[in-house]
């Protein structure tokens, strides 16, 4: 059996699960909830099988040992693995807290990530490894980094939900923060979606970002389209700010308390932070030392990992200061994840465009 069959199955299962979780939220029928969980587990199992099969294909094709051929060497594979970790994390939370409400938040992230892969046409081909990636550190470094990213994305969703439930006034800083963050995420996603449908391009993601991103909207050559897009974008932000309190009511229906959200945010960071430190920073440094002879060279990827690390260190220490617990640290948790996204995607997609790395390396 080919891995792609199982990947297809899991993508479908996650999309169905997403719809079922939303239905469950609306009608609160026990059977619907069980169905949603079953679909998610089905998707997870198919994805696990697919991952192992691809691992094996990779090992055979590259003619390398099994432990050295973990299929985590390009954006496509890493996104897939990120989704896998996220779903695993979600299932743990569902069983631990006996609460399905988060499913409606997590499965869309999984679905969107998979849709992003399909739409951008991120290369699905098995690519041979460049010499620098041929190392025993690949497996530990990359898997641990992604487990941490998944934990951080859980803390992002619960941190945002915490802010939504805890804020009441529109002129409150925390309220403005979450509506703007939420709004920017929504506007960026929609604008990117329009780009993809308008250009229907299957190019590498970095090329997409550098040549096509926001070209239908904010960076359009026509000044009229440009101005209209900016007005629409800002209007969306305003609407979310104006009617954001409605979301608070929705979340309050989910049976989730602010304390529980705070606890999940803290716990996922408490799991993500040590794993990120060890797998991302320390193993990354050891590997760099072996491959290039420098354990730390302040290159953008390293520096952004360090920025992420400092933001989560800020979160962990901020909790110890009186008056900071709660909303203030939840803001830090949300900012932390934007740094994670930048470390993972932004450095490769945006900064590489600025620096235009070339040549052999």
């Amino acid at each position: 059996m080919e891995s792609s069959v199982f990947f297809g199955l899991s993508t479908m299962a996650y999309f169905l699960a997403m719809m079922t979780y939303i239905t469950y939220l609306a009608f609160r029928k026990q059977q619907v909830g069980v169905l949603a969980t079953t679909l998610t587990i089905f998707g997870f199992v198919s994805q696990t099988i697919a991952f192992i099969l691809r691992w094996n294909e990779f090992s055979v094709l590259g003619g390398m040992g099994f432990m050295r051929s973990v299929p985590l060497t390009n954006l496509y594979e890493s996104l897939i693995f990120f989704v896998w970790c996220l779903i695993a994390g979600y299932l743990i939370i569902e069983f631990k807290f006996k609460n399905r409400s988060f499913g409606a938040f997590i499965t869309p992230i999984a679905g969107l990530a998979l849709a992003f892969i399909d739409l951008t046409g991120v290369s699905k081909e098995i690519e041979p490894l460049v010499p620098a990636l041929k190392s025993n550190w690949l497996l530990a470094h990359v898997t641990m980094s992604f487990i941490a990213y998944a934990a951080f994305s859980v803390s992002f969703s619960t941190g945002l939900m915490y802010l939504i439930t805890k804020t009441e006034k529109r002129n409150e800083l925390a309220y403005i923060f979450w509506t703007v963050t939420f709004g920017i995420f929504a506007v960026v996603f929609v604008a990117m979606g329009i780009d993809m449908f308008a250009f229907k391009v299957a190019v590498k993601p970095d090329v997409f970002v550098q040549t096509y991103l926001f070209k239908t909207s904010f960076f359009n050559p026509s000044p009229i389209v440009k101005i209209v897009s900016w007005i629409l974008g800002l209007t969306t932000l305003f609407i979310i700010w104006r009617y954001g309190l409605f979301l608070k009511k929705v979340i309050e229906k989910f049976n989730v308390t602010a304390d529980m959200l705070d606890e999940i945010t803290y716990k996922s960071i408490a799991i993500g932070f040590p794993i990120f430190t060890l797998g991302g920073l320390i193993f990354g440094a050891i590997w760099a030392d072996q491959a290039w002879g420098v354990y730390w060279s302040w290159d953008p990827k390293e520096t952004w990992s360090l920025i992420t690390w400092f933001i989560y260190a800020f979160y962990l220490h901020g909790r110890m200061i009186r008056g900071w617990k709660g909303k203030k640290v939840a803001i830090v948790a949300v900012i932390g994840f934007t740094a994670v996204i930048f470390t993972y995607l932004g450095v490769n997609l945006l900064l590489s465009g600025l620096h235009a790395y070339g040549g052999m390396e």
Binding site: P131, S135, A270, Q290, G293, I311, A313, M360
Partner: protein, 478 residues
């Protein structure tokens, strides 16, 4: 407030540096300023960063912005005085903050547990109270039995009308934070030692050449204390593509004229000698390659013995046992032949080395053909002879990173300490439990109080599990 007023100047400074608030301000400063260094190219030509600034802020602002950023040291910001001081401040904060808190925590860790009063027990966030049949003497054993799964080693004292059992576990877990803080200092010390006593350099060593120095920056020579020779360099490709699968250098270390070490290195597998490590990092063509290169052919005549021959550009060779001879007339490191049949070179690397040979039979010109190293089908000549192109030695150099870092082991030690510290700090918890047994009308009232500094719910579940075991046992005895 009174206390604050009475503080001496030194106390105030101490308090300032020991505060968590300063720590998070430093975190925020390091994180936010670091961003600039990921956008501007560090240690690059000014033109490059002006170009980046133009992309971001437009042509009119770019030059003046460049000057401002340049004055502030942002063009090599991670080594600028202010970023280094920020890191120094971070270290100082770590030291003073830990020194301030450690004695208190150490006392807490070492402090033996003592019995508590009933009122105290009831104040714990985790407390349970229930009645068990039987006198405290017998109940005591079944209680310790039921609590076995929590793996506490209880101390017990006899009290007025009963007993008190108490125990703690994981008291050292409170030190995890300080191990982590210490590990950061160890890493910083290791880094400073590396910068102070080590060096970073590079060496582009052509095949066959020997060097006793490496280079850093603008061709500043760094003596190695021994000599290194590149015996051979080779690239292996994935199938017929130009994607390198592996590049390998065969190196020899020569000390006082004697060969002391031979090793072939690839990316991720360096060579270390006398504290200096050589990493495979790049490769390329030597500028005057054609003058120094040696073609290595294996010539197989249609009938007769194979033989290996070494030739230079322009040389003529004879295929043994035949009247055929060849003359090397052209070479391309990366040959491409388009649809029209015209040949060109497409890369400045040895991606597809090819040699053009004019063939003669008994001195009379017969034909000319390209022979490609990576394509054995081109080795066969129409007359049945074979010319196998095995190598063109001496025209490539191996690009080596050269590093001496006596601090790296300290950094690694710090990394290990950090892993241990984080594990203790995040995954182990300090748990304390007190169980008071009070006789009441021939029955025993059991009061449990417990605390945990982490994962309280799991601890609570464990205690409740033990209580239900106890209750079940009671019911069984009825």
């Amino acid at each position: 407030m009174e206390q604050e007023k009475n503080m001496t100047f030194v106390d105030r400074i101490w308090k300032f540096f020991a505060s968590v608030k300063l720590a998070i301000v430093i975190f925020a400063l390091i994180a936010s300023t670091s961003i600039v260094g990921t956008i501007l190219d560090q240690k690059a030509e000014p033109a490059k960063n002006i170009q980046i600034l133009t992309k971001l802020f437009g042509e009119s602002l770019a030059p003046s912005l460049y000057n401002i950023f340049d004055k502030l040291g942002f063009m090599d910001m991670y080594h600028s005085w202010w970023f280094t001081s920020l890191l120094g401040l971070f270290a100082l904060n770590l030291i003073i903050c830990s020194a301030d808190r450690l004695p208190r925590i150490w006392k807490l860790v070492r402090e033996p547990l003592g019995p508590l009063t009933e009122d105290n027990l009831k104040k714990f966030p985790m407390n349970r109270e229930f009645i068990v049949k039987g006198k405290p003497d017998t109940v005591k054993d079944s209680v310790t039995d039921a609590l076995k799964s929590t793996r506490f080693r209880f101390a017990e004292i006899k009290e007025e009308n009963g007993y008190q059992l108490y125990a703690q576990k994981g008291n050292y877990s409170r030190l995890g934070v300080y191990i982590t803080h210490l590990s950061i200092l160890i890493i910083l010390i290791g880094a400073v030692i590396g910068i102070r006593f080590g060096f970073k350099g590079y060496l582009n060593l052509p095949e066959g050449d020997v060097s006793h120095v490496a280079f850093s920056g603008k061709d500043k020579a760094l003596p190695l204390g021994f000599e290194i020779r590149c015996d051979n360099f080779d690239v292996e490709f994935y199938g017929a593509s130009d994607m390198p699968k592996e590049y390998k250098s065969w190196l020899t270390i020569i000390k006082n004229g004697k060969e002391v070490l031979r090793k072939s290195i690839v990316v991720n597998d360096p060579l270390t000698y006398e504290g200096i490590t050589f990493y495979q990092s790049s490769f390329g063509l030597v500028p005057d390659g054609l003058n120094r290169g040696i073609f290595i052919f294996n010539v197989a005549p249609a009938k007769g013995q194979n033989s290996t021959i070494n030739l230079r550009f322009g040389d003529t060779f004879q295929i043994p046992g035949s009247s055929v001879s060849g003359k090397i007339v052209n070479f391309s490191p990366a040959l491409k032949i388009d649809e029209n049949g015209s040949a060109s070179t497409y890369a400045n690397h040895m991606d597809n080395p090819a040699v053009l040979i004019d063939f003669f039979d008994a001195g009379k010109y017969k034909y000319t053909g390209w022979i490609l190293k990576r394509h054995p089908q081109t080795w066969q000549l129409p007359d049945g002879n074979r010319v196998e192109f095995h190598n063109y030695w001496g025209v490539e150099y191996t690009g080596l990173q050269v590093r001496k870092d006596p601090g790296v082991w300290i950094v690694y030690l710090g990394c290990i300490a950090m892993s241990i510290g984080l594990f203790i700090a995040f995954f182990l918890s300090h748990r304390k439990i007190w169980v008071k047994l009070v006789e009441e009308k021939n029955n025993t009232r059991v009061i449990i109080g417990a605390t945990a500094n982490k994962n309280r719910t799991a601890f609570e579940r464990k205690i409740d599990g033990s209580i239900s075991i106890l209750n079940k046992k009671q019911e069984g005895e009825k």
